[in-house]
Amino acid sequence: MCGNCGCSELGDLPIHTHHQPEHSKNEKIRSLTITQSILSKNDRLAERNRNYFLAKGLLVLNILSSPGSGKTALIERTITERTTEMAEDASAIASSLQDRLKVGVVVGDLETDNDAKRLRSTGASAIQITTGGVCHLEAEMVLQASQNLNLDLIDLLIIENVGNLVCPAAYDLGESLRVVLLSVTEGEDKPLKYPTMFKSADVIIVNKIDIAEAVEFDREQALTNIQKIAPEATIFEVSARTGVGMEAWYDYLEEKMHKGFSHKGFSTEDASRSQTDIA
């Protein structure tokens, strides 16, 4: 018997689908207008992250790709090469300045923490988010994980998202730049197959160009597709393995970082305020 209205419909019928407006005086079906974006909660939290990171003078990268395109490899090389070089620059300017460019990494993975281990071996602090099957990172997860890093000592926060070109596109994390990787083994038409992701990218990196010839990668076709899908994205062609092409990527990052640093200069007050807000 239906607990709602006392009728005796049973069997295979899904509960309550038998209810009609006239079925019971107490069960008038009425319509309710809502119009709410399902991701509005994440969007709000992402905006909070963005203000928080900005106040701390952090440049934040959200790195996305299919599994195996080379996200971890790119981050590893960026950390080891860039931090060393910046340190040399800094010592040239002021020899007392011992600090290196400090990088913090947040890594999302379905199950393991292998990537975080790989990244820690470069000397960077890396926090693993094991999503337990969730195929993307959300703004709240990133904020929680970032609390395990000393953000005041970090200049660049790199988020390696879960390897997936579909749903991470819809989840803003509060990043400054969205970086999408495509390796030459994945085919020239990848941007056409995942337009939502590629259209949301600020930067598109073609990785593994060291093996482009071996896999008969059609470079012209790939670049045409990328430019047509994402006309305003900045494109780099690199090999995270050999280091070819990475210089341009570093220069770009450095330019963006300097913009970030200028924020740090005049917003220390905001930074301490937003920290207490979140704590």
Binding site: H19, S37, I38, L39, A170, K228
Partner: protein, 113 residues
């Protein structure tokens, strides 16, 4: 799967709204899904059956309105519906990345009792 988490969040919002109205059953949910939202309607339908089981929305109908992509060309100051994945302005042939509509994942209305 992405659609399951989208659908659970949808159900959460729907349930909250229904309960605020003193309703104890949801009969119908209407959503707007953008063509460029990255969400697959069939997968949403499947996820809907899974997440509504044993809830006040069990057996409810899910209706989805697919929202086509609308772009804006800042040069010509016109809106246009691109015929393919390349968002080329029909007047000046420039590529646009200003998407005005087509990314929606929205719950628009409910039927409750």
């Amino acid at each position: 799967m992405h659609e399951v988490s989208i659908m659970s969040q949808t159900l959460e919002i729907a349930t909250e709204n229904a309960q605020q109205q003193g309703a104890n059953q949801i009969h119908r949910l209407k959503m707007r899904i953008g063509e460029m939202s990255g969400v697959v309607p069939e997968a949403l339908n499947f996820a809907f059956d899974v997440v509504t089981e044993g809830t006040i929305a069990q057996g409810a109908k899910l209706e989805m309105e697919i929202v086509p992509v609308v772009c804006y060309c800042p040069h010509c100051q016109i809106e246009f519906q691109p015929p393919d994945l390349f968002y080329e302005c029909p007047q000046c042939d420039r590529l646009s990345n200003k998407i005005i509509a087509g990314r929606e994942i929205e719950l628009t209305s409910l039927e409750i009792s």
